[in-house]
């Protein structure tokens, strides 16, 4: 294993890269949301993540819980809609699980991410196949855990997670939405990628790219 731990600076870099990606893809996310939602996912995510990055730049976090609790609260209070509480809860749970540490080892990162997923489920009550961000988050974390169990290092596991995330994102196209505003479309939601699934895929792209730079 070449990379046993991940530092708070690398995790800050992850969130910064995620902000870059949602900013680059803002029109794409909004376009997806126009088809089956209310056309605000791109602007909501960029508003929230740029506030997160401003906060990181103004006062860099010293510990993992400080970083993610700050990011989670910023999203919860600046985004509104459904994506603010869902992404916010994801980061808040990561922070609470990681605790006041400067680095995470691979099992520590895996369990923090897993707790984040638990938070999303508790808040959004989504299940597999409901056509939500859960359909990316769950398979990505399964791939992450499987890669670590197969003695991959953290960057390789992150790449495996991103690969599973893309598959999960694309698979939402064929699904019938059962949660959120898209669910009112019924059959008409089929044929469109879920915008939340697309932004969650960017989250794993950001993680893979940030660690890939090592």
């Amino acid at each position: 294993m070449t990379n046993e731990t991940i530092s708070v600076d690398q995790l800050s870099g992850w969130l910064t890269r995620f902000n870059d990606l949602v900013t680059e893809q803002v029109s794409y996310l909004t376009e997806l949301d126009s088809a089956i939602g209310d056309a605000d996912h791109g602007s909501n995510m960029t508003r929230g993540m740029s506030a997160v990055v401003e906060k990181i730049q103004a006062s860099p976090a010293g510990t993992v819980d400080e970083l993610f609790t700050g990011a989670g609260m910023t999203l919860v209070t600046s985004v509104g809609g459904a994506s603010g509480p869902l992404y916010g809860t994801f980061f808040l749970r990561i922070g609470a699980t990681a605790g006041p540490v400067g680095t995470l080892d691979a099992p520590g990162l895996a369990s923090a991410l897993r707790a984040g997923l638990g938070g999303v489920v508790a808040r959004g009550k989504a299940e597999v196949g409901d056509k939500t961000m859960f359909d990316v988050l769950a398979p990505a974390l399964d791939a992450f855990d499987a890669a670590l169990a197969g003695s991959s290092d953290i960057p390789s596991a992150a790449r495996a997670a991103y690969s599973a995330a893309q598959t999960g994102r694309d698979a939402t196209q064929a699904l019938l939405a059962r949660k959120g505003r898209a669910s009112y479309l019924g059959e008409r939601s089929i044929g469109h990628i879920d915008p939340g699934a697309a932004s969650t895929s960017l989250l794993f792209q950001a993680l893979a790219e940030t660690l890939g730079k090592e």
């Binding site: 509104g80 059962r178 505003r181 008409r188």
Partner: protein
């Protein structure tokens, strides 16, 4: 005085899409001395809080449904309304702040329309209030839209017209001095007894998008539309008022038996339809209800829960009883509803 010379790129009376909410709150504050606007937190309060010991009512939601909710803040209805961005739920810190300010020691009822974002943001707001303050919070989630058929396979029925009637009736119950559990029970009863259905003749235009949310051909209408321009049950050929009334009222009557009780009926405009057409529609709705043997005890016709500039209307029918009628008739003094004072 310096005048903003910027010309918006759509035909709306705005300075810019980014400032619509703040600019409209400035107008609310200037027009209504009975209200106090917290511009930083985007909350509309009563200028004079109600008496200590009474239950307070808090609602809120995305902007674009005016007069809901800010127009219903005042004596006999809400104590505060949190304003979100257009069609986007307000955030939990707003609900926390509003809950702290309006509590008069008897607890706060949160009135939430059933949309995924609204429910989650109010939920976090209530959790924060419980953790930080210990204020008692009760919640009623309004879900009265019969257009949503498969509610077990969706986010559930949406909160629409019944919200207006609920805020009035629960507000009167709180004003009478009923405790939090009793006020919440009245609110729950209104939600369970109210049903709504809407129709759009045109889309609405969200200022930040600058173009209509959907395209509806000149000879079609969308039956069962929501209040955010989200699609309805089906698109059908445009029809006259009598036929539109039938398509709105029938699904409501087949969802709940309204016979044998006095009802309150609201014919609500969605923002882009003149009052004369709403009265034409109301006459048609009454013919259907009379023929069905339904007793209409009270009526409300006008724009109360809108979807920006959408043309169209919704019908709400509430199965009432003597208590609910008495609470409906109680004095109310808000910019959106005012009688008995």
């Amino acid at each position: 005085m310096k005048v903003n010379q910027e010309v918006p790129d759509m035909k709306k009376l705005i300075n810019s899409p980014e400032t619509v909410l703040a600019d409209s709150l400035a107008g609310v504050a200037a027009a209504h001395p009975d209200l106090r606007v917290d511009h930083a937190n985007r909350i509309i309060f009563r200028a004079t809080p109600k008496a200590a010991g009474k239950v307070a009512l808090l609602s809120g939601g995305g902007t674009g449904h005016e007069p809901l909710h800010g127009g219903f803040v005042g004596e006999g209805m809400l104590d505060a309304a949190c304003a979100g961005a257009i069609f986007t739920s307000p955030t939990p810190d707003q609900m926390l702040e509003a809950t702290k300010v309006v509590d008069r020691g008897a607890g706060v009822l949160h009135i939430v329309k059933n949309y995924t974002g609204d429910v989650m943001n109010f939920e976090i707001g209530a959790e924060l209030a419980a953790a930080e303050t210990g204020i008692k919070v009760a919640v009623v989630v309004v879900n009265d839209d019969v257009a949503v058929e498969d509610s077990s396979f969706t986010a559930g029925r949406r909160g629409v017209g019944t919200t207006v009637l609920l805020e009035k009736i629960a507000g009167a119950a709180a004003e009478e001095g009923r405790d939090l559990a009793a006020v919440a029970a009245v609110a729950q009863k209104v939600n369970e007894s109210g049903r709504s259905m809407g129709v759009a003749l045109t889309s609405c235009t969200v200022p930040s998008a600058g173009k209509p949310t959907f395209v509806l051909p000149d000879d079609e209408m969308e039956i069962g539309v929501g209040i955010h321009g989200e699609p309805g049950r089906r698109r059908v050929p445009l029809a006259g008022a009598a036929e539109v009334a039938r398509q709105l009222v029938e699904p409501i009557l087949s969802d709940l038996d309204f016979t044998g009780a006095p009802t309150i009926v609201m014919l609500n405009g969605l923002g882009g339809t003149p009052l004369i057409e709403l009265y034409v529609m109301y006459a048609e709705v009454r013919k259907i209800l009379d023929a069905a043997g339904i007793t209409v005890a009270r009526s409300l016709v006008g724009n109360y829960i809108t979807a920006l500039d959408m043309a169209g209307c919704s019908v709400t029918i509430l199965k009432a009883d003597d208590d609910l009628l008495r609470l409906w008739d109680a004095p109310v003094n808000t910019s959106g509803l005012r009688w008995g004072i």
